[in-house]
């Protein structure tokens, strides 16, 4: 299954709003480091990864956490994993 980047962008922002309701998720800059900008701790980030898993079926392994710290990076990562899944 693949999804359009715009759809993935919305999924990522919804996951962010899910773990930190006080964030104005729609207006987070795509290249902001979400961990630093919103002071997310490891429990928050685990919740974020869980929310992405629930929405996309993609389980991001721990070793890839460092590569999904911005909205843009998440969208790219999820898109790539979905394309890999679709072709493989």
């Amino acid at each position: 299954m693949t999804r359009a980047p715009a759809e993935l962008d919305a999924i990522v922002r919804a996951a962010l709003a899910d773990i930190a309701p006080e964030i104005d998720a729609d207006n987070v800059a795509v290249n902001d480091n979400i961990r630093d900008s919103f002071d997310l701790d490891s429990i928050d980030f685990l919740g974020f990864v869980e929310a992405l898993h629930a929405a996309t079926g993609i389980d991001i392994p721990e070793r890839d956490y460092r590569t999904v710290e911005t909205v843009a990076a998440c969208v790219a990562y999820l898109g790539r994993r979905m394309a890999d899944g679709a072709s493989g």
Binding site: S42, L46, E50, R63
Partner: protein, 231 residues
């Protein structure tokens, strides 16, 4: 400014209550402070290997392993776990584990992981997530705020390198963990780079003393060196 979570107490009054409690603690409790740098290489490598096999909802965080190590180390440190009431210390066999949680919009609260001594690592992880989640959502239950027998404060990855907490009366100890950092480390005559956490103990001198506190921190380090036994 008074703001309110979904169902929590007004934040300004919460901050004032915490302030009064800390003021009383510093006035009444003769604190002493110890710290120990603990090599977490084995613990973190073990966690990484475990988590590699687990789906996201089953993964364990280093914070859970630290809490579990504290609970296990307390078995040999009865004078750190309990309450000081009416001029004497009453140790406890059970562990009601207070956890200092910073609220994202400011403020601090220390809900309790109940009967932590009965929880294995996975259960403790779940209990920690539940209680932190409820604290941040402003939906703590009255049972979450029941009296702890000891408290842990963990600054996490965005925090400073070490923390020395203020004991919450009538408890007699608070264990602190700073941020895990990579440091140059000497062991067995060899220099290497290790992931290290500074663990601290603030304790009540009426209930324990430096020697006993030191033994607790040493035990904690030993427990974290054999993480597979903390399951």
């Amino acid at each position: 400014v008074v703001s309110r979570g979904p169902s929590g107490p007004p934040r300004a009054s919460l901050a004032a209550a915490v302030g009064r409690l800390m003021e009383r603690s510093k006035r009444e409790i003769p604190h002493f402070y110890l710290s120990e740098d603990i090599d977490l290489n084995a613990a973190l490598a073990w966690l990484t290997a475990m988590n590699d096999q687990r789906s996201v909802d089953q993964r364990l965080l280093p914070a859970a392993l630290l809490l579990r190590a504290v609970v296990v180390a307390l078995r040999d440190a009865p004078d750190l776990n309990g309450h000081f009431v009416d001029g004497c210390f009453a140790p406890r066999d059970d562990v009601q584990l207070g956890l200092a949680v910073s609220m994202r919009q400011g403020g601090l609260i220390a809900p309790v992981i109940r009967d932590a001594h009965t929880l294995d690592l996975q259960s403790l992880m779940g209990a920690m997530r539940d209680v932190v989640g409820r604290a941040r959502a402003g939906s703590l239950r009255s049972s979450d705020l029941g009296p702890a027998t000891i408290t842990v404060t963990n600054l996490g990855e965005q925090g400073a390198a070490s923390v020395f907490g203020v004991i919450i009366p009538p408890q007699v100890a608070i264990v602190g963990f700073g941020r895990v950092t990579e440091r140059v480390w000497v062991a067995d005559g060899m220099i290497g780079i290790r992931s290290v956490v500074t663990a601290s103990l603030s304790a009540d001198h009426r209930a324990s003393h430096g020697h006993r506190g030191s033994r607790f921190l040493t035990t904690l380090a030993k427990r974290l060196a054999t993480p597979e036994e903390l399951l």
